[in-house]
Structure formats: structure tokens, C-alpha cells
């Protein structure tokens, strides 16, 4: 397997639970203990109710494409072989939005509202990245 050449995110204390869960093939999202709002990425306090109390909870991994773009310029050499590639915003069933990529879908086939579910890709010993795959029909 060729070496992984794209940027690898730093596992910061705030995001450690997220990356630890991803290693276990689980998607977790921070949820406010004050009002129940799901938020991504992690923040120190809730902008809805200003509570500082939060917990990481496992979510279904189901969602839909909320928006997407197609990157045509090479901003990092790790993506040089991939342009044009799509970046998506996935709106999870629980409401939080995540920036990510789709796997197995060509940029020209991406549609807003397309149902997707999380898949995981190990990119280093420490980091596993959640990406998303299209759900071809309900229940699959």
C-alpha cells in the first residue's frame, strides 16, 4: 500500500474521544447536557444554552448530503492525484453537520439530499477518518 500523503489531523485533547471512537468503528458526536444539542466539532460551551457540560454520544452514522463542492485546485500535494475531488457536508440524522468525503461516488453523481452512512478509513496508527458512502436504497 502506498504511504498516506494527505494531511493527518492532530489528535487534540478536545477531539480525542472522536478519534478513539473512530478506531472502534464508531461515530461519536459531542452533545450538550444542558439542552441536548449535538455539535461538531467539539466546543467548550454550547452556543444554544451556554452550558459547559457536554458528553460524547454514539450516533447512528446515517445522514444525508447537505451540500458539497468540487475542489479543482491542488492546495496540498497529497491531493495532487485526486483533483477534481468532492468535499461534502453531511447532515447527520441527529442534526449535527460534518465536513467529510464520499467514497465510491463520482463528484458528478453527488446530489443534495442523497442518503449516506458512515464508513471508516485508517490513515495512521492514531487516526481513523470517518467518511461516508451512498445508501443506494432504503434499508440497505
Amino acid at each position: 500500500m502506498p504511504p498516506y500523503t494527505k494531511p493527518i489531523p492532530t489528535v487534540t485533547p478536545e477531539l480525542r474521544p472522536f478519534f478513539e471512537a473512530a478506531k472502534r468503528r464508531e461515530l461519536v458526536v459531542q452533545r450538550c447536557r444542558g439542552c441536548g444539542t449535538y455539535r461538531f466539532p467539539a466546543r467548550e460551551l454550547c452556543s444554544n444554552c451556554l452550558s459547559r457540560a457536554s458528553e460524547w454520544v454514539r450516533v447512528s452514522g446515517a445522514g444525508e448530503v447537505f451540500s458539497f463542492n468540487v475542489m479543482h485546485q491542488v492546495y496540498h500535494p497529497g491531493f495532487a492525484g485526486e483533483v477534481p475531488y468532492a468535499v461534502v457536508i453531511v447532515k447527520l440524522a441527529e442534526g449535527a453537520k460534518m465536513t467529510s468525503n464520499l467514497v465510491g461516488v463520482l463528484p458528478g453523481d453527488i446530489r443534495i439530499g442523497m442518503p449516506v452512512r458512515v464508513v471508516f478509513e485508517d490513515i495512521s496508527d492514531e487516526v481513523t477518518l470517518p467518511r461516508f458512502a451512498a445508501v443506494s436504497s432504503p434499508g440497505v
Binding site: N69, H72, Q73, V87, T99, S100, V127
Partner: protein, 388 residues
């Protein structure tokens, strides 16, 4: 209401691929030009507000640097301001407030930048892109997924607008074409001599879909300054005053991809109420066009058309030369030059003074000027008029 402040001087340096001066030099020259335009000299300045561009550095004490460079003594007002793309108009608003409060009398509001470097010879390292700042978003997660820079984030919002309202690349292209037609009438525009058709627009390379290169504003080296003073004093100066009749800001917060709405909704309400005017009184519109898409959203949010109908409104030719609503009459930041909000302000001053020559809008008495920043998250509005 009786206006209490006015723009009394305008200074615009050379714009674009001007490599022999740096950002401080451009700022000083812009202030000198604005002072000369007003018939003042630097000793008359007791206020200085600066919106530093990228070249000034992230933690720059910019207004202090500029003060030192200009040898200004005993300023009664000095600050470096940042409200994103809303800053330029916000500087004029803060200057006006300070003058009305009696803190100072004569304020230079300045923007300058020099991010363009001379082209390197063939084979040299390709510059641009992937700045370290891009990695700060979401602790590097955006970079891990290949999302870099502001274009990419704005593209997400534009795509939602297309999905929800049926806005298309033809609509975006119509903005680019209309503004180029204005630029073709403006000898000072960087793209003055470059005509543009909708076909040319569609052929221009993709930067990040749904944005072609021609959806994105220019990059420019240069500086712009305006002198703000009281309405009374402005009447005694060299050029006809451009009165600040109304001013407002709007900073909505929230997720712009969800709301698809800018701060113009809030900002225009304050500004029009202060001016005692309605949209029907507006003769020229100068919008902050960081993207073609932004023009469409702002036309909707100001209420020149219904929400979601900005695209068809522009495609109908309404904003182009000869149209019912002249918009970005110098070519805007897409086709003339990119001075972070000083572009629309300077064009409004030119139009209201009747200095527009080939691009002059007949009987231009009231101009609506706006600044938009962040991802539709900061906004400022000025209602300017040559008449009290």
C-alpha cells in the same frame, strides 16, 4: 434627518500588478491622494482608521505603523479595525460616530494590501494555496478531507442556494458579464480591456465547483483612502461633499448554509430608517462582490427582488449598463480591483460626484453601498448622497 458627516476626499492608488511598493507605501499614498482631493494636508488629520489587508500580518498594530510612516502627531482617534468584508463601511461609520460625538474632526479611513508578487520564471515553484491558516479550521479535519480556504466554504453555501432556489451557473455568469460590461467602461479597472461573454464565463476554469475562476474576485495590490469629516466642514472643502445619510450593520451568526441570508437584512433596515429613504430612492448600488454569488444573495436580502430570485434578476440585465438598477458600476471587485469593501465605497463617491465619465449613471443622487464578510456573517450598509 440632517446628515452630520460626509466623505470629503477620495484617494485611489494604482491597482493590480503594481510590484514596486509595499502595503505601507500604498496606504500612505492613498491618504495623500485623499487629502489632496479634499484640499487638506496631513496636519488636518486627527483620526486614522485602518483595515489592514493580508500583507500587514495577522497581529499587526496597523494604524500605529501607518501613523508612524506618515508622521502624524496628536491623533485623537486611531484604531485597526476588522469586521471582515464589512470593515470598510464600518470604518466610515465609526469615524462618523466619533465626529458626531466631538472626539475628532477629520478621519482618514484606509485599506491597503500587496499580496501579488511578480511572476516567477518558468520552472520555479508554483506559489499560492494551502496556507498554514487553512489548517486551523476544525483542528485540521477540513484539511484531512481536502477542504482548503474561503472559496471552498463559500462554494458550500452557493451550492445550497442553487439547490433551494434553482440558482444556476448561468445566473452567476450573468453577474460576471454585467460587471465586466461596467469595467469595460472604466479605464481604471484591471480588466477594462477584456470583454466577457457568458460563453467565456462557462469556459473559464473551475476553481471549486460551483465557482469558476470568473466567479471569484480579483487579487489586487494597491490602497484606497477616504477622508470623513462633518457635513458642515465638508461644504467648505475642495470637492462636493458626499453625505453619509444612513448607516447600519448586521451580523447574523448562525450557519449561512442553513439560512442562505446575509446581514444585509438587518443592516439595511437601520441604514434606510436613518436616511429616511426607501429602496425606490436608490439610484446606484455598490455591493461587496467577493463572489458573483454574493451579489445575488445581497440583491435578495436588500429587497431589490424576492428571496431566491436574485439569479433571474441579474440574468434579465437589470444590473448591467442600461438596466433599471445599476450595480457595481465600476466593475466591482470581480472586474475592477479588490480593495476589501473600499471598492464599492470609492465607486459610490465617483458616481455621486458625477465623475464616472463613460460609466456615469445619469442623475445618480443616492447610492447604497454594502460590505459583506465572513461567510455571509458580517455586513455593513451606507446610504450616501450628494444631496442633503
Amino acid at each position: 434627518m440632517i446628515p452630520y458627516t460626509a466623505i470629503a476626499g477620495l484617494g485611489i492608488t494604482q491597482q493590480g500588478k503594481v510590484y514596486d511598493r509595499n502595503h505601507v507605501g500604498f496606504a500612505v499614498e492613498a491618504v495623500q491622494l485623499a487629502l489632496a482631493d479634499a484640499g487638506l494636508d496631513r496636519g488636518d488629520l486627527d483620526g486614522l482608521l485602518l483595515n489592514p489587508g493580508l500583507s500587514w500580518g495577522e497581529a499587526a498594530m496597523g494604524s500605529f505603523q501607518l501613523q508612524q510612516a506618515m508622521g502624524l502627531r496628536n491623533l485623537r482617534l486611531s484604531a485597526t479595525m476588522n469586521a471582515g468584508g464589512a470593515t470598510a463601511a464600518a470604518m466610515i461609520q465609526h469615524a462618523g460616530g466619533a465626529i458626531a460625538a466631538g472626539m475628532c474632526t477629520t478621519v482618514a479611513c484606509v485599506f491597503s494590501d500587496a499580496p501579488l508578487k511578480p511572476p516567477k520564471p518558468q520552472g520555479a515553484e508554483k506559489g499560492g494555496g494551502g496556507s498554514a491558516g487553512a489548517y486551523g479550521f476544525a483542528r485540521g479535519l477540513d484539511a484531512a478531507y481536502g477542504q482548503f480556504g474561503i472559496n471552498a466554504m463559500y462554494a458550500m453555501v452557493a451550492r445550497r442556494h442553487m439547490h433551494v432556489y434553482g440558482t444556476s451557473n448561468d445566473h452567476f455568469g450573468a453577474v460576471a458579464v454585467a460587471q465586466r460590461q461596467w469595467a469595460n467602461r472604466n479605464p481604471a479597472a484591471q480588466l477594462h480591456e477584456t470583454p466577457l461573454t457568458l460563453e467565456d464565463y462557462h469556459r473559464s476554469r473551475w476553481v471549486v465547483e460551483p465557482f469558476h475562476l470568473l466567479d471569484c474576485c480579483l487579487v489586487s495590490n494597491g490602497g484606497v483612502a477616504v477622508i470623513v469629516t462633518s457635513a458642515e466642514r465638508a461644504r467648505d472643502l475642495k470637492r462636493p461633499p458626499v453625505y453619509v445619510r444612513g448607516m447600519g450593520q448586521g451580523h447574523p451568526g448562525g450557519d449561512p448554509a442553513e439560512t442562505l441570508t446575509s446581514g444585509a437584512v438587518l443592516a439595511k433596515e437601520t441604514a434606510l430608517r436613518m436616511a429616511g429613504l426607501t429602496l425606490a430612492d436608490v439610484d446606484v448600488v455598490e455591493l461587496y462582490d467577493c463572489y458573483t454569488f454574493t451579489v445575488i444573495v445581497c440583491l435578495e436580502d436588500y429587497g431589490f427582488c424576492k428571496k431566491g430570485e436574485g439569479g433571474p434578476f441579474v440574468a434579465d440585465g437589470k444590473t448591467a449598463p442600461g438596466g433599471a438598477l445599476p450595480v457595481n458600476t465600476g466593475g466591482g471587485q470581480l472586474s475592477s480591483f479588490y480593495m476589501w469593501g473600499m471598492t464599492p465605497i470609492s465607486e459610490a463617491v465617483i458616481q455621486l460626484r458625477g465623475d464616472g465619465a463613460a460609466r456615469q449613471v445619469p442623475d445618480a443622487r443616492v447610492a447604497l453601498v454594502s460590505g459583506n464578510g465572513g461567510i455571509l456573517s458580517t455586513h455593513s450598509t451606507l446610504i450616501l448622497s450628494g444631496e442633503r
